[in-house]
């Protein structure tokens, strides 16, 4: 028998079936694209709405949603597998500038709702660890969407925000468990949500805009910049000439330079917000007088809105991490701590720690300054299960 095996080895070499299989993709995007294709088609708008409501916790999972999520098993598996990969390249054609299509963004939002709906279902069944794993997969998915350009950043923020809500809901009902909380704390700290910023997105956005505003692309500009209900193609065509484009490029570079300096700076929220508002007002006033400024007003990102969102998003995520610290302190001491644990993440509105207040059935974390767009103090309520 040994002789036969030796002869076979001599003839064919080592037989390793696994080595014969092509490797699985190492690019997460390829798995996400397959996940999009594996979502069973439904024209049932009511079901889609219901799924979205379950994902964001507006309604509890019902049989219809559970049944649909079950049918989406393969799509969810692909999404979770994709989220575990380090590298993600969506293959976007940035060479097309502002016309570059981002079809994955719409799909990704829908896929994340599906994964989070499953997390809610698992949590309702008492399978908290698995439910949290789904949430973490969603954070990683948001990280894979990335912050290369502003719209990617925005969708990442939207997906992360949904995941924050889901983790909060799970913590509200999960019995005290030091092991799971310690694991969750480590996992949250490692999620890409902690590092996404609008500044990085704005840097590439600036490159795309400056490339679009080159004189060689003058013929394409009207088609790219005309907006439904806004400046029309003919208006832009009439207004554009080389000197005007040169002026637009220069003004755009200055505007983005000023905005980036504010966004990347360490100035307090209130001050940065005021500076960005002023910058936007200057731009609008200039646009009323100068066609070049009107042109760049159509492509310049809404930096104030962006900044408001970025800080809000950071506050939400930091508050969640701080809450995990509180839950952990509670499992150790058997009761809620009298103050926030010292290493808890800080409130980005003030740079100080969140205002912490135990309540009858849990605790509240409050920011120290108002969200200036909503004109309200953000607060986060957490329940402590018995």
């Amino acid at each position: 028998m040994v002789a036969v095996a030796g002869a076979l080895f001599a003839c064919f070499g080592p037989v390793t079936p696994a080595a014969a299989l092509p490797p699985d993709p190492d690019n997460a995007a390829l798995l996400y694209y397959q996940a999009f294709l594996l979502v069973p088609q439904t024209d049932d708008r009511a079901l889609a709405d219901m799924l979205a409501n379950v994902a964001d916790g507006t309604i509890a999972p019902n049989d219809q949603v559970k049944e649909y999520v079950k049918k989406c098993r393969d799509a969810i598996d692909y999404a979770v597998a994709a989220s575990a990969l380090q590298h993600c390249n969506w293959g976007l054609r940035y060479s097309k500038g502002f016309s570059a299509a981002f079809p994955h963004l719409a799909q990704v939002r829908s896929l994340s709702r599906l994964v989070l709906a499953e997390a809610r279902i698992l949590a309702a069944q008492g399978e908290y660890r698995q439910a949290l794993e789904r949430c973490l997969a969603t954070y990683r998915l948001a990280g894979h969407i990335g912050d290369e350009v502003l719209i990617s950043f925005l969708v990442s923020v939207a997906v992360d925000t949904l995941a924050d809500k889901c983790v909060t809901a799970i913590l509200d009902q999960m019995p005290a468990d030091t092991g799971t909380l310690t694991w969750l704390k480590g996992q949250l700290a490692a999620t890409p949500a902690a590092t996404l910023t609008a500044s990085k997105a704005m840097a590439l956005e600036r490159e795309v805009a400056l490339e679009t505003l080159r004189p060689e692309r003058m013929a394409d500009l009207p088609g790219i910049l005309a907006e439904p209900g806004g400046t029309n193609v003919e208006e832009i065509r009439k207004a554009i000439n080389e000197p005007m484009l040169a002026r637009a490029r220069e003004s755009y570079a200055n505007y983005m330079g000023s905005a980036l300096a504010i966004l990347s700076g360490q100035t307090p929220y209130v001050e940065s917000y005021a500076k960005l508002r002023e910058l936007a007002t200057q731009m609008e006033q200039a646009a009323a007088k100068d066609p070049a400024m009107k042109l760049i007003n159509a492509i310049a990102p809404a930096v104030t809105k962006m900044y408001v969102l970025q800080v809000r998003y950071k506050a939400d995520f930091n508050a969640l991490q701080a809450a995990v610290d509180v839950y952990l302190a509670r499992t150790g001491a058997g009761r809620l701590p009298s103050s926030l644990p010292p290493a808890a993440p800080r409130d980005p509105y003030t740079g100080a720690e969140f205002k912490y207040e135990p309540t009858g059935n849990g605790f509240v974390l409050r920011c120290g300054a108002k969200d200036l767009e909503k004109n309200e103090i953000r607060e986060y309520r957490f329940a402590t299960p018995k």
Partner: protein, 157 residues
Amino acid sequence: MSERKDEKWLDQQLQRAVNGTTPAFDAQAWKQKYAGEFQTLLGRSVQPSRLSAGRTVRRVLRGSIGKFAIAAALLATAGVLLVGRFGSTPVPPGSGPQPAAQQSPAQMVSMISLSAAFRSGGMEGLDKQCDRALERLGPRPTNVSMQELFKDLDGKG
């Protein structure tokens, strides 16, 4: 073939042709859009005729030539629709701004459109634009059976 089966067959052909979505005929919209043609049809209906329009359609459907004619017409229509949807025909210079409803799927999810949606409506605006795009883009049907594939390969599909 019964009238019901005829309808089912027609639905299936339509569904194949327009990529899996269930067809729905909006009679009111059609009447408004083609008011002249509708009046002509009404005018004809008062003329003495031995067959109603419905009967004529059913008769045509019963014959295999009629079916092929309808299938060919459907495929031609679908071809035009699909070229419009996925084709790479460049936008002619001078064409005006397109209302959101007329945007192609690629335009709906372009960097400029999504950014504009955020600029004008914040996250809600971006969400709506993504939802509209998703309605047009997918998800795609996944139940392609081997039988269908073989039919296509045989050229009988």
